[in-house]
Amino acid sequence: MFRYLIRRILWAILLFIIITFVTFVIFFMGPNDPARAQCGGDQARPACLKLVTEHYGLNKPLYVQYWRFFDRLVVHQNLGYSYANGSSVNQTIAKAAPVTASLVFGGAVIWMMIALSLGVYSALRPRSLLDRTAMVFVLIGISAHPVWIGLIFEYVFGVKLGWTPIANYANFFGAPAGSGLPGGPWQWFYHMILPWFTFALLFAALYVRMVRANVMETLNEDFVRTARAKGAPERRILVSHVLRNALLPVVTMLGMDIGVALGGAVFTETVYQLPGLGQNLVVGIQANDFATVQGVVVFATVAILLFNLIVDVLYAWIDPRIRLA
């Protein structure tokens, strides 16, 4: 197990270097000019461009810039400063990460709740009305784009019914003093309801199908028959024998999907104007703000790798075949 962990961590580091370097190369391959963002964009004057370029060392060779970035990151744990607005990328991410975490983890809770209840129920009653309804839900969830769903939700629940805020984020720990903005746990929850559901819908749909298939498959396993032959009641069979086995692949998927989910969060964050990582990424790309883009990529990579590691450990904990292999 320890060996396995070490190996995973070494892999993670290698992957990390590759990903950051590739991001670097991709960014500098294009005709991007990060200095332009600070010099008024389209109308940047030559003098200003020269000044800013030298200031950020943008005229240095790629490998020198990468090395500077890497050295700063590893030695000082510093992701640098935005090319577009000079803010500390560390701070940007420190502010954005809780927003994205709120969205992703809250959304994951909702999607797992939906997926488990609907999935198990439809597996137990295949072809029932609920099962069919669930499949329609799945179809909608899979085919609809989160931005579209988000706009519909905003319009229906925010503009027309007025039940929820249309958009924006409320800090869980209270809004900044004197800002007059909403804050606190309730406001946080209130503002996150629509984003959570929007975000969760696609994954809930995918996972309903997966849970349903897994539960149905596990119900046909020989050991379930063994449990019945022992005289175990159905409820016990479901809880003790079926669910844990059926959820094993779901846990793996969860680990793999966290990266996909972060990607999906970009859309949800954009449409609900949540100042999370995804939105910072989009803005950073639009503004040629490489420092911020790289910072988000680095952070997301680390988060994904870390989360995968946790899932691996969790998986080993649930599945003795891995733990004891």
Binding site: R3, R7, L10
Partner: protein
Amino acid sequence: MEASTTGTNNSVVDPNDLLVIDDVKKHFPITRGIIFQKQIGSVKAVDGVSFSVKKGETLGIVGESGCGKSTLARCIIKLLETTGGQINFDGRDITKLSRSTMRPIRREMTMIFQDPYASLNPRKRVGAIVGEPLEVHNLGSASEIKTRVQELLEVVGLNPEHYNRFPHEFSGGQRQRIGVARALAVNPKLIVCDEPVSALDVSVQAQILNLLKDLQDDFGLTYIFIAHDLNVVRHISDRVLVMYLGKVVEIATRDVLYKEPKHPYTGALLSAVPIANPELGRKREPIVLEGDVPSPVNPPSACNFHPRCPRFVEGHCDVEEPPLYSFGNGHVAACHYALERWPMDASEIRRASASRAPEPEPEQPLPA
């Protein structure tokens, strides 16, 4: 050790031998390490096996799961690269042949697999499946291939009109017939049959066994027939090779092996087979082996059967590896304390006679 490694060298190949296997080894490495994967051991799936197969005969290879018989089969037809040893087919050393030089030889040795469900591509029509080897080897035009395929289907007892059907439209036995037709398509000299009937029902199993026998008579085929069912092997084989943990424990002609097994493992296998005759079956007391087959990663020392052997002699069997002792007429067995007679019951078998078995075979070709 020296006797078991005694093999054939090319100069003394018997012209009647179609296939000569000499000290073939297949070790799967076990690696460990984080970045530099160093080999810390190996699974000795096949560990120094030598035998030969004569033209037109059927060699049965029998053993329990994990004894290496399927790996051996794959080594023979070069689906797997061997770790050591030599394979001579029809007078040629094919051990080191490259993919392209091996190609013409692939026509001459084909394989029938265990699972007729898994080994046929469900999206291809029967005609395409059977005709595929013909196409691969460029044997004829499309219409010629079609004619040949229909002929083959007829040979294996299928309706040639079913040329355009998919595998799922056939029953298990019929699918195995398709597998046989595919193996026959290129007129091979040798067919390696890996558990061809173990997935089939008894009545269907008989059909396939009969078919294989008929085809052998009609086309002069040579078979290597791998199975775990001693009944089946006995029925179809001329000679039988028993494997245990990657090694040959005994080779003899069918009748000799079943009537006078010399190796205690062979004896245990024979006595374990239920006999479909209540009077006979219940009278005898099977020799029940203790425990499970050990792991091939870390096989027991010397004679690797010794921890389970009813005639185990401490200080000998676990120290000195038994060579393949010869019992005449090509009957060889790797045991220091070979069975004196057969049948024996469980208590008799425990009394190993102190007398040593005959001397190891001198250097000469293996069983003729």
